[in-house]
């Protein structure tokens, strides 16, 4: 063991610590998943499908968008998983419009026909062809019968069977019939070369996603599965967690880096200068330590708007104090060691001593504390996102905002929107914490 360098010795110790190693594995897996988000998620995190709002985990549906357009000579705007060449078949089921209401009033033995329009009110009709619309007659007693397949004319006496004896008013309600349409398209070179609607050529077809029942490519059905369900706006939760993790982890890493740079520089300069400079710099740290910075960060974010830059600067600036203390302590203890004295006596400049001799020797505690800072920063960012001050990037929310949205939707049968983002976040934080503590034990075995 003694022949090993301190780093490989620390690595050996870390490998024996199974908690730290599982932390390392989980954290690495999370980072990999978040980096590979575009390939792991079934669709974009911002893609809404309003008819699929708040669907439970595992739901599948035909692979399509909210609005789908197919036009000759254009690439198909449907699924992102269509091949460049092949045969596309889409089955839809539309029910054109809502139900129509007609009113038949019998006055002095003849009928007066009108249509109830929800916007324009009653519109008089001369004729009503019941053979073309499937309608039901709503009777006074509340029961309904199928309307006779007849042509009604205003001014004619009512036909047999339309009205019950003694009735003078009948409401006819047409039930919308589902109307199945099949669309065939030939794809070649990424564009549509032939487009047919129910067998007839058509230059352009626009489809609503909610009407699509089946999407086939070369006889193979394309379905989309939302492994973790969807959020209220029908966006895929898995995609939102993965892309949101990019924001959370990036904020954690960058803000930690900011705090590292400030803290190491400040602590090293303070410890190396010593004397009055050191005392002044450290009492400034003492004063700042007692300032509850989170409140200042909140003010800053509200008044400057939530941008990445402000967030990095604010969170990094909050976290550097402890780092400065740690580095200062290290530098102080190294300052009078022989190798530093040797460097000083051979005329090496101050900055070179600092950056070449002192700071590299503080790297162990810096790594440990840096690792432990990452989950702290992620937690703070999520805290800000939770109270509505998070950053959004192209409509993608960070984990804190996802948890807040899940909490807003929380009912006993709508838990997935809270539980999965919460699990992702808690798992990542725990993993990095375990890794950090393992690193501390591995790099400084005396502490155990």
């Amino acid at each position: 063991m003694s022949t090993q360098g301190p780093w490989s010795e620390a690595w050996t110790r870390l490998r024996r610590d199974w908690i730290a190693m599982s932390g390392l594995i989980v954290a690495t897996a999370m980072v990999a998943a978040v980096v590979a988000a575009p390939w792991l998620s079934p669709c974009a995190p911002t893609e809404q499908r309003h008819w699929l709002g708040a669907m439970p985990p595992g739901i599948t549906h035909p692979d399509c968008r909210e609005i789908d357009a197919l036009a000759l000579g254009q690439p198909p705007e449907l699924s992102t998983r269509l091949p460049r060449d092949g045969h596309l078949r889409v089955l839809t089921e539309t029910s054109d419009g809502g139900a129509h209401h007609y009113r038949v009033v019998v006055r002095r033995g003849v009928m007066q026909l009108s249509e109830e329009d929800p916007e324009l009110g009653a519109q008089r009709l001369d004729t009503l062809d019941l053979a073309t619309i499937a309608a039901e007659v709503e009777h006074r007693e509340g029961h309904a019968t199928p309307a006779p397949r007849l042509l009604l004319k205003s001014g004619d006496p009512p036909p047999e069977g339309l009205l019950d004896p003694g009735e003078a008013v009948a409401i006819l309600r047409s039930t919308p019939t589902p109307h199945a349409v099949s669309i065939e398209a030939t794809l070649s070179g990424g564009a549509i070369t032939a487009l047919r609607l129910d067998g007839a050529d058509s230059p352009r077809i626009s489809l609503r996603g909610e009407d699509i029942r089946r999407v086939e490519v070369d006889g193979r059905e394309l379905r989309l599965r939302h492994w973790l369900g969807t959020d209220v706006e029908g966006r895929d939760l898995l995609a939102r967690i993965l892309f949101g993790g990019r924001i959370s982890l990036m904020v954690g890493a960058v803000a930690t880096l900011v705090s590292l740079v400030i803290g190491v520089a400040y602590g090293a300069i303070s410890g190396y200068s010593g004397g009055r400079t050191d005392r002044t710099m450290m009492s400034a740290v003492d004063v700042l330590y007692a300032v509850p910075f989170m409140f200042l960060v909140i003010i800053l974010l509200v008044y400057c708007g939530s941008s990445f830059l402000v967030l990095f600067a604010a969170l990094g600036a909050v976290q550097w104090l402890t780092m400065a203390r740690i580095v200062r302590g290290q530098v102080l203890s190294l300052r009078h060691r022989e190798f530093v004295l040797a460097a000083v006596s051979s005329g090496v400049s101050h900055s070179r001593i600092l950056f070449r001799h002192l700071i590299p020797n503080c790297i162990g505690p810096v790594i440990v504390y840096g690792t432990l800072t990452v989950p702290m920063v992620i937690m703070e960012e999520s805290f800000l996102a939770f109270i509505g001050l998070g950053v959004q990037q192209n409509g993608v929310d960070s984990w804190g905002a996802l948890i807040q949205q899940g909490h807003a939707q929380l009912t006993p049968d709508r838990t997935w929107m809270l539980v999965y983002p919460a699990l992702a976040m808690a798992g990542t934080l725990l993993a990095i914490n375990c890794l950090g503590e393992g690193l501390r034990d591995a790099l400084d075995p005396r502490r155990r």
């Binding site: 007692a290 509850p292 509200v302 805290f383 109270i387 804190g400 899940g406 725990l430």
Partner: protein, 308 residues
Amino acid sequence: MGSYVLRRLLMAPVVLLVLATLSFFLMHATPGGPFDAEKQPDPVVKQALMAKYGQDQPLGVQYVRWLGQMARGDFGPSMKQRARTVNEIIGHTLPVSLLLGAVALVLALGVGLALGIIGAVRADTLWDRSAMVLSTLGLGIPPFVVGPILALIFAMYLGWLPVAEYYGPAHPAYLVLPAATLAIPFAARIARLSRAGLLEVLRSDHVRTARAKGASEVAVVLKHALPAGMLPVVGFLGPATAYLLTGSLVVEKIFAIPGLGREFVESVTNRDYTLVMGTVVLYGAVVVVCNLAADLLLGVIDPRVGRS
């Protein structure tokens, strides 16, 4: 000891001044003001409002005047809730937050110390490991994850406790979940600190002497080791109040509790200058006073502190 107390006492106002100054200038440096509504107000009206609240004065004058008011404990009128003063709003909401914080603190101390003592006395056993795993979980999982999940389990599935809202101290059931949510991270931290502190003391000479004298294990732990082992916990109680206050922002939002935390978040989004700054300074004062109290307490318990 004397100089130590003096130094601590002198530092407190400096910290407060730094905080007040930072929040004042941050607030005024950023675009948008309290009288900028979505509908632009009449310039004359705006001018009159600015004059009434002293916003038309130079920044330096505003700053000095505001500091003077603060020193007398007057936070001024609220700029958004026009009929109320900041003092009234704070007086209304602070007791709720204080009660919540106090309950959480007691809960955290009880659970945390229990876990810490178990961990230290039964060091490196399954008991110790489980206590430490629990504390890692408590520290690593943020309150805005714990809170909704506790609400889901205990309020929605089991129906034992109310989901949210608060109706005064006469209905303590409404405080259980929020206080537990707030307490968990502290309990975890206290468990770690007290375990570490106690372990160190249990290995020290005076404990060995006590054991050698034939004192029972319970007496050794409770009488001889615990007071000295609690030093790190006492040191933590100061900074803990800062966490308690920020934590209560989230907890009050989750459980819809009408405390100062919720008021603060709302005042920030409303750009209610005076209310935000009053709250920040008040929070700062609470943190500073608690830090000071913890430091002084530490100095009293452990005479070595002042001399180092």
